[in-house]
């Protein structure tokens, strides 16, 4: 063990800050849990109590059917111990992602150290990269809710670090592919990005791998064995359905446009080649690809979905923009091989997600986030060490620190003071309050009718009631629809509806959106979003 030095102290400080910004008020900001979080939480709960998921499958290893969206299994299992030990609530559901976020900061430091191990400033690079990741809005936002992507990122970074580490200690070749496999069990887009990045790493460590053929082979065999349980799911019909639903290649407009143009060209042979629909789709693909590199997305406003960005800052800090440019230039100058790898890493994280219609997508391309951190760090460190005089160096570095801290403070203020109020509606806010109300009045009513207007109320009812799986299985009225989605129409005293008031048995408590409330009913309570807009009304 190396001795404790000043940079270990700084690292500890960085990790403490990382832990603080990722875990303070974790249960209340973001202000409510999304349906995916509720689903992960409730499935973890049923696993911990009965060993089965909400559909009654015993310890699924390939996938959790959940809403019919077939969630990857690892995030649920990682949530199980937290739920088992600390109970089922917002904080425990989010802890695995938040802790992964903190660990990613640490592992990124180790990765950078390993990546630039021959560099004079490796320590500085590692610390700056970890420091920038700590305060980057992108990573903070995704660490503070139960996002599978954020857990997958930890596996990816760990995997890369292991492979690089194996150059020195071949024993790592036994295990270095395992994190990539775990990534496949954790998040959809990692299923493609992970292997692409691992493949590039193979090239980088080719020499060391040739010298340790036994370990490499054994490691690959182990990885393949671990991969076996999920393979049937990866090639299944359900996985394909989910893909087609979001794919750009099912967009007919491209084909129609190609036909119109060929018609104008009198269907000549060259027209069929130039206006081939594959050309059109290739263009669409690249448009979606480059959406993810839009300056506005990266530096100004972030992802249009307020779940992934507070809309006031970009995914990255604005002040990092010049360092990213300078960092790319200098890293290509100093370490072309590393630079090529970083570029590949970034492109490989975007490439699989660009086939989807929704772009840019901060969640799906999170796998490429560390590249920006490493390049920013390289730009910062190189622009400082380019100066000869140490006094100017420290002044400049202080100025940089102030810039980054100021930019982070801007994000943090908006996130803590304004974000919950502005965007509580984006987080399905209201169901928790509705279920709490229903629980309190449970004995007075025969039926509780809850609206589906906010989305998937059944999972919130299960979550906040901590409803036993057995009773859910006995009383539920549910089915899978043609598109493969799981619809629950009611269980126990609960009935879920998209409609207004209807014919229900016995005394009925309605919790419906304001527009569905008939005149003259007895209103028990109005549930409001944090910005004051009424979202649900409870009445008899």
């Amino acid at each position: 063990m190396k001795r404790f030095t000043w940079y270990h102290g700084i690292l500890l400080g960085i990790i403490a800050v990382a832990a603080f910004v990722r875990m303070v008020n974790l249960g209340t900001n973001p202000p409510a849990i999304s349906w995916d979080e509720a689903s992960i939480g409730y499935n973890a709960y049923t696993i911990s109590t009965t060993g089965r998921d909400e559909h009654g499958t015993f310890l699924p290893l390939d996938t959790f059917a959940a809403f019919g969206d077939y969630k990857p299994p690892v995030p649920v299992y990682l949530t199980v111990p937290f739920v088992a030990l600390l109970g089922l609530n917002e904080t425990t559901v989010r802890l695995p992602s938040a802790l992964s976020g903190v660990l990613t900061v640490l592992v990124l430091y180790l990765l950078v150290l390993e990546l630039f191990r021959t560099a004079k400033h490796a320590q500085a690079l590692g610390l700056v990269a970890a420091g920038v990741l700590t305060i980057t809005p992108w990573h903070i936002m995704l660490s503070r809710a139960a996002f599978e992507a954020n857990i997958a990122l930890l596996f990816l970074v760990t995997g890369i670090w292991f492979v690089l580490k194996a150059r020195e200690s071949p024993v790592f070749f036994y295990v270095c592919w395992l994190p990539f496999v775990l990534g496949i069990y954790t998040f959809n887009s990692t299923r493609y990005a992970g292997p692409l990045i691992a493949g590039a790493l193979m090239v980088i460590v080719y020499k060391s791998a040739m010298a340790a053929k036994k370990q490499v082979l054994a490691g690959l065999v182990i990885a393949c064995i671990v991969l076996v349980p999920i393979l049937p799911h990866l090639v299944s019909k359900q996985a394909r359905l989910r893909f087609e639903e979001v794919s750009i290649f099912t967009d007919l407009r491209t084909v129609l446009m190609s036909n119109t143009r060929r018609h104008i060209d009198n269907f000549s042979w060259f027209s069929s080649a130039l206006h081939n629909r594959r050309v059109g789709y290739a263009r669409e693909y690249f448009i979606h690809f480059f959406d993810n590199l839009e300056p506005r997305f990266l530096f100004i406003k972030g992802d249009g979905n307020p779940k992934f960005s507070i809309q006031d800052t970009g995914q990255l800090l604005l002040v990092s923009a010049p360092f990213i440019v300078y960092g790319w230039l200098t890293v290509f100058r100093d370490y072309p091989v590393i630079a090529m790898f970083l570029l590949w890493w970034l492109l490989a994280s975007i490439a699989p997600t660009a086939v989807a219609r929704e772009t840019p997508h901060a969640l799906r391309i999170e796998n490429g986030l560390p590249v920006y951190m490493i390049v920013t760090a390289y730009g910062i460190v190189m622009s400082v060490v380019a100066l000869r005089k140490s006094r100017i160096r420290s002044v400049l570095f202080t100025v940089y620190c102030l810039l980054f801290i100021g930019n982070f403070a801007y994000f943090w203020h908006n996130f803590m003071s304004h974000y919950p109020k502005e965007y509580s509606g984006e987080w399905q806010y209201g169901y928790k309050q509705a279920i709490t109300l229903a629980k309190a009045h449970k004995n007075e009513y025969d039926t509780i009718v809850l609206t589906e207007s906010i989305g998937r109320p059944y999972i919130y009812a299960l979550f906040y009631e901590q409803y036993p799986l057995k009773r859910f299985e006995e009383t539920r009225d549910a089915s899978f629809d043609a598109a493969g989605f799981y619809n629950v129409y009611g269980f126990g005293a609960y009935r879920f509806t998209k409609e207004g008031v209807g014919a229900y048995t016995g005394k009925t408590l309605y919790i419906l959106p304001p527009k569905d409330v008939p005149l003259g009913v007895h209103i028990i309570e109005t549930i409001r979003l944090l910005n004051g807009t009424a979202v649900l009304v409870a009445f008899e």
């Binding site: 448009i287 590199l293 506005r296 230039l329 801007y410 908006n414 003071s417």
Partner: protein
């Protein structure tokens, strides 16, 4: 060899710019029509459509167009008559000069030897680079687009290029320095963006070449004197309050309510809870700064540059402003120019950084015209990237002539060729069909119809919903400017637009079709929405309704 290549490139530039100049894009848009008719008016009367004698800013649609283009169009209209081709001619000529100027500019920029020769930098021939850059500009979708229409910006670019060429030569010779100052002065007359860009560009080159520039004070002096004399007539216009009006009209910051809505609400909340740091962060100045930066950074969008472009009038269907194949070479080129260092790197990299400044505060960002001043820097980068690529792969294609070399090389060349072919095909064949709407197609047909039927009517009413119809009718009827000015010329500003009339044409909104007089004495020309029922319909080239004509 070099000369033949250059002549070939110039021939190519001429061919691409002049072929079907009046037919693609299919019709002049309102700005082109306005420039054309004002040139015609100045030719016949010395005055513009408002009666201003030799204007230094063309009021036009109250956008106060910079004057240079209209004066360039005067001789062209004088010789070839008032038609689309003649109005676009100066842009095409200027486009060809830009290609030629680029050849000399690259030669000047890269003449300087390496400052420090570091390893891994490949030497490349300056001459090949100049030729390649000129070639790339000749076929550039961005440059071709604006060389083939009567927009002012393209002229400014040409003067920037020649101004720089003259500047670098002027470091050794007085006449060239005077020419440089004159060219830069002229570009201020060419386009609004130039008035912000040219001073910055001059600052950059003066700093970069400070030693040579200040070594001989006479050069500095003659530059300043000639420059000042050139721009002197323009000064009252630039300092006039109308230029502020234009700035406000196009600025994102002018919509303060929409922009500040969220921050005002936040500020309220901060004050309620006494959060003082919050009141600093939710300050409107931060919102303004972020909006400006957003506008600036939007021009570094690869999606915009290589795939989609912006306004449909600024690009060919399914094409961006640069060829997609150029992307990797541009990236490599930026790196190699930066790595090479010296004068070229300093000038080109700062040029790229200041080029979007004039467009940043405007409301339509990214904007292909307001940032046109970035040409031909990107082409220089791309050419450098291609040269680097050729140098790095030399050892493969020169020594090992195997299938492993020829197959990838063949694939690459085919891909590049197909990409260029695709653009030309989309531009010359499909642009008219798909984008005729954006080129305000239909007026030629409407005027023809009106003129051939006008004997039957007492009055012809044209709807102002068709966007500045009076200008198109003046343009296509070639209405005598003397008569037009005698009847009062154009009225504009506020709601005065509805008062425009000449000959038997009247221009006003047709807000209620049922209430109009339908006794057969008035012919109406309006948008499909305004004229329901039976009518003579003019369609866009893709078949959609453009205008309707009825009694």
């Amino acid at each position: 060899m070099k000369k033949i290549a250059l002549i070939g490139i110039i021939m190519l530039a001429i061919g691409l710019r002049f072929w079907q100049l009046g037919e693609v894009p299919v019709s002049p848009d309102w700005d082109e029509a306005a420039l054309g008719y004002n040139a015609y008016s100045i030719l016949k009367t010395g005055r513009d459509e408002y009666g201003t004698f030799l204007p230094r800013a063309l009021r036009s649609f109250d956008d106060y167009k910079p004057p240079l283009y209209v004066y360039l169009a005067v001789p062209s209209v004088a010789v070839f008559g008032l038609n689309t081709w003649a109005v676009r001619l100066p842009a095409a000529v200027m486009g060809v000069f830009a290609v030629l100027g680029t050849y000399f500019l690259v030669a000047e920029l890269f003449k300087q030897p390496h400052i420090k020769t570091k390893k891994r930098i490949s030497e490349f021939s300056t001459q090949a680079l100049s030729l390649l850059t000129a070639f790339l500009l000749a076929i550039s979708p961005w440059h071709l687009q604006f060389s083939r229409i009567a927009f002012e910006a393209n002229t400014g670019v040409t003067f920037n290029i020649w101004g720089l060429v003259a500047f670098f030569r002027g470091l050794q010779s007085l006449p060239w320095m005077a020419a440089s100052a004159f060219f830069f002065g002229l570009s201020l007359y060419a386009y609004h963006s130039e008035r912000i860009f040219v001073p910055l560009l001059l600052l950059i080159v003066s700093v970069v070449c400070r030693k040579e520039l200040f070594a001989d004070r006479r050069k500095l002096l003659i530059g300043i004197v000639v420059g000042l004399l050139t721009v002197l007539p323009l000064l009252p216009v630039v300092l006039d309050k109308t230029s502020v009006t234009r700035l406000k009209g196009t600025s994102t910051l002018s919509d303060a309510t929409g922009l500040l809505m969220r921050s005002v609400a936040k500020l309220d909340d901060d004050q309620k809870v006494g959060n003082e740091i919050g009141t600093i962060f939710d300050n409107r100045r931060i919102v303004y700064a972020k909006t400006l930066l957003d506008g600036y950074l939007s021009h570094f969008s690869l999606r915009w540059l290589f795939l989609v472009g912006d306004n449909d009038r600024h690009h060919a269907p399914d094409n961006g402003l640069l060829y997609f194949w150029e992307l990797p070479f541009m990236v490599w080129g930026i790196f190699s120019v930066w790595r090479r260092g010296g004068r070229a790197a300093m000038v080109l990299l700062s040029w790229v950084l200041v080029a979007p400044l004039a467009a940043s505060p405007t409301s339509e960002t990214p904007h292909a015209i307001r940032t046109l001043v970035i040409l031909p820097v990107l082409q220089i980068f791309i050419a450098s990237g291609v040269m680097e690529f050729l140098t790095h792969t030399k050892k493969y294609y020169e020594k090992r002539r195997t299938v492993f070399v020829w197959v990838p090389a063949g694939v690459l060349v085919t891909a590049v060729f197909l990409n260029i072919l695709f653009y030309f095909h989309m531009y010359y064949v499909h642009l008219n069909h798909e984008y005729s709407k954006f080129w305000q197609y239909g007026y030629a047909q409407a005027v023809e119809y009106a003129e051939s039927h006008k004997a039957k009517y007492e009055k012809i009413v044209v709807s102002t919903a068709l966007e500045q119809p009076h200008m198109f009718f003046l343009f296509y009827t070639k209405y005598d400017p003397v008569k037009y000015l005698a009847s009062g010329g154009t009225s504009s500003g506020g709601f005065a637009e509805v008062k425009n009339r000449f000959d038997m044409y009247e221009f006003r909104p047709i807000s209620n079709w049922a209430k109009e007089l339908h006794d057969g004495s008035i012919l109406y020309i309006g948008s499909p929405r305004e004229l329901p029922g039976d009518a003579y319909t003019i369609t866009y080239l893709n078949g959609d309704d453009a205008m309707r004509i009825s009694e």
